[in-house]
Point group: C2
Chain length 415, copies 2
């Protein structure tokens, strides 16, 4: 791949010929009609011609990813790299998605297609990337080393602002570094963002005055309307807040781009909705490709589930996601902080540490694992810190728990 | 469904119990953790409790939509309606997508999920909807009745602005009502939007002066950055243009919402990228649900392929899409103009007319079908008008072609 091309890797599946399908995909980006045309000169085609760079065969599949009414397998599979001229795509994310991804999903003759990766030339470093990222998250939370220990309001939904504030106080006193609204909590009638900010920020400030520790609270400011989202952002900033939860798919590239340029908040991304793009292994998009776009747009902290998550995602997928986030696109500073979450209570810390490159550059988020600890939330926080100490010391949890009653209690309940 | 609820219909598939899965989905929207919690009172749950309204069983499937490593079919299927309290969701599209769709895609224990429809209460009529829609498209093009006849620049990509302008002149003289940039053409190095507007608008104006007819030209103004997209919009408006092509998935809800509030242009939507959400019949989202959101956001004209399209989409799916667009959400004015396109040359006019409710409220877009007509583009336009006359007269194309040589030539080439 040259530095004036964009490379996209597709996992293709077809009962026909893979090389022919790859060539058709590359050609469709420059002509795209069903009949021969006047004016379709070589010179015209050269300005935007995509080219097939590599085809790596994979084993055939017996069953097609998309049901095939003609039923004529086997289904050939390959990872195909196609290079697009930067001249034709430019550096706009809308152009990238339209030319190299959206159109390809519509091509006839395939029974499966998954975007595996996107390789971007240096010109794409023009995008803002994370404003805070890993160093900014550490600075704002005051956590110089080790995992940033996070929690979420539980019950997730249905609490009045005053009830939420009481949970925030409990979590601050329990010793967490970060608290967030559930991603499904934005601006409902029973708990408007304005009322929530007004109820919660005094608790955060009070705790800071007493202890010197400012807990980072990420408010759910998402709106499909960027003007509304900016008003939400301003509410949080004016009250002294420093973070926000964003449902990135629900605001779209436009919402994220608009906010990032103006944002004073650390942006914590929830990828709610992403699952439908990735749950079928033969269809959609790998997180590796997906996260690059959102990091360029400015995500500071990225939720990626965890080991033994409560959702469908297999552990291997989470581990890959973690490594994806750890890899620079252009520079170290375009990395987003991995947020390990979903069903986490500390019991997964050692395995997480061992499988993700033995790094402590992460946020570890316990919801039920803190609120539901049999000895209370403060013990839940201590149990998780103990579990991460075990990880760092490279000892087994069961051994470590012998001297740490909170961890022992968590293991007894969930282990 | 009461008027203070939002109803979402899901096509669920599971090797387990459908009713249990439906109940879990409803419950996950209000609690959503893996362990029992203090504070999870009935009062708290009631504020945002979703409820299962209906379960309509469908035949079992032998093969799961998402591969099932445990391999324990049969896979039960049903259409399940879940009602969400308006109080909990509000009227923001980001909240709707996050609460009722995004989270549901992540639930464990399902082997297939497809969002079939979204039923919105009156409070959702607060959204702007189309600014021009069908009456505005007719007014701006001067086409009082019958299909609005449209074309696209061909070759789609790779032409310099001056070469594009020459194609525009040819199409104007051929008698089309509407011309558009290919959706993949936005702002490439070889044909910037500014240069294209500067080259094309004088041709549109010159043709208007000579003939009194202002051809609507839709420029590709999409950008993932709403500020850039507004500058693109302003370029078109200042040059006297009146329409734009938008790649709606590539700009996202935020981009569309931002633009619509400020737009002076008729917004022609291309749903590039939508295919991956809908191509597998057991996964993703039906166009019926999808198009409602984008109409509320302000789409005026909606591309939906056509009979015998060049892409994967079956004819039945196109026909359903057409009817979806024809159905008001709240009022007649929230309808978007259906744009019938992809591989169209007139030969599909009679069947389209008969299968879509015998309406002429549509745009019919021929690309290769006009540019590639053996007697030239003007004959291509006449052939398509002749085909639609046959449709309206309810006669067969072959019979009609006996007195219409342009249609006969098209039939000879593509029929």
């Amino acid at each position: 791949m040259s530095n004036d091309e964009i490379g996209v890797t597709y996992r293709l599946e077809t009962s026909g010929d893979i090389a022919a399908l790859a060539a058709k995909i590359a050609a469709d980006q420059s002509t795209g009609t069903f009949t021969e045309l006047p004016g379709e000169t070589e010179e015209v085609q050269a300005r935007c011609a995509a080219r097939v760079v590599a085809i790596s065969d994979l084993p055939d599949a017996a069953v097609p990813s998309i049901p095939d009414p003609d039923g004529t397998g086997p289904y050939h599979r390959a990872d195909v790299v196609i290079a697009y001229p930067l001249e034709a795509v430019g550096t706009d994310i809308a152009a990238l998605m339209t030319i190299t991804i959206g159109g390809v999903y519509a091509v006839r003759g395939l029974s499966g297609i998954r975007v595996m990766d996107i390789e971007l030339p240096d010109a794409w470093s023009c995008h803002p990337g994370p404003q805070f990222g890993i160093p900014g998250s550490r600075r704002l939370t005051g956590v110089e080393s080790g995992p940033i220990l996070a929690s979420i309001i539980k019950p997730s939904l249905g609490l009045l602002p005053s009830e939420t504030a009481a949970v925030v106080r409990q979590l601050c006193e329990a010793g967490v570094d970060f608290i967030k609204d559930d991603e499904k909590l934005m601006n409902p009638g029973y708990s408007s963002l304005a009322d929530r900010v007004a109820a919660i920020m005094p608790v955060i400030k009070d705790h800071e005055q007493k202890t010197g520790k400012k807990v980072m609270y990420a408010f759910g400011i998402s709106s499909a309307d960027p003007d509304t989202m900016m008003r939400n952002h301003d509410l949080v900033v004016e009250a002294g807040g420093n973070a926000a939860v964003l449902n990135i798919n629900s605001i779209g590239y436009g919402g994220m781009s608009f906010l990032r340029k103006r944002s004073k908040l650390c942006l914590h991304a929830h990828r709610n909705g992403w699952d439908i793009l990735t749950r079928h292994p033969g269809l959609g998009m790998e997180f590796r490709a997906y996260q690059k776009i959102w990091r360029l747009l400015g995500v500071d902290q990225f939720q990626i589930n965890g080991i033994r998550a409560k959702y469908w995602e297999p552990d291997e997928s989470f581990v890959r996601s973690f490594h994806d986030l750890a890899a620079p696109i252009f520079t170290e500073t375009d990395r987003a902080l991995p947020v390990v979450c979903s069903g986490q209570w500390g019991g997964q810390a050692v395995e997480t540490y061992r499988r993700t490159g033995r790094t402590l550059d992460l946020m570890y988020l316990g919801g039920g694992g803190i609120h539901g600890h049999p000895m209370g939330a403060a013990a839940g926080v201590r149990a998780i810190r103990q579990a991460w100490n075990a990880a760092e010391l490279d000892v087994e949890l069961d051994d470590h728990a012998k001297k740490h009653p909170e961890l022992a209690a968590a293991l007894a309940k969930w282990g």
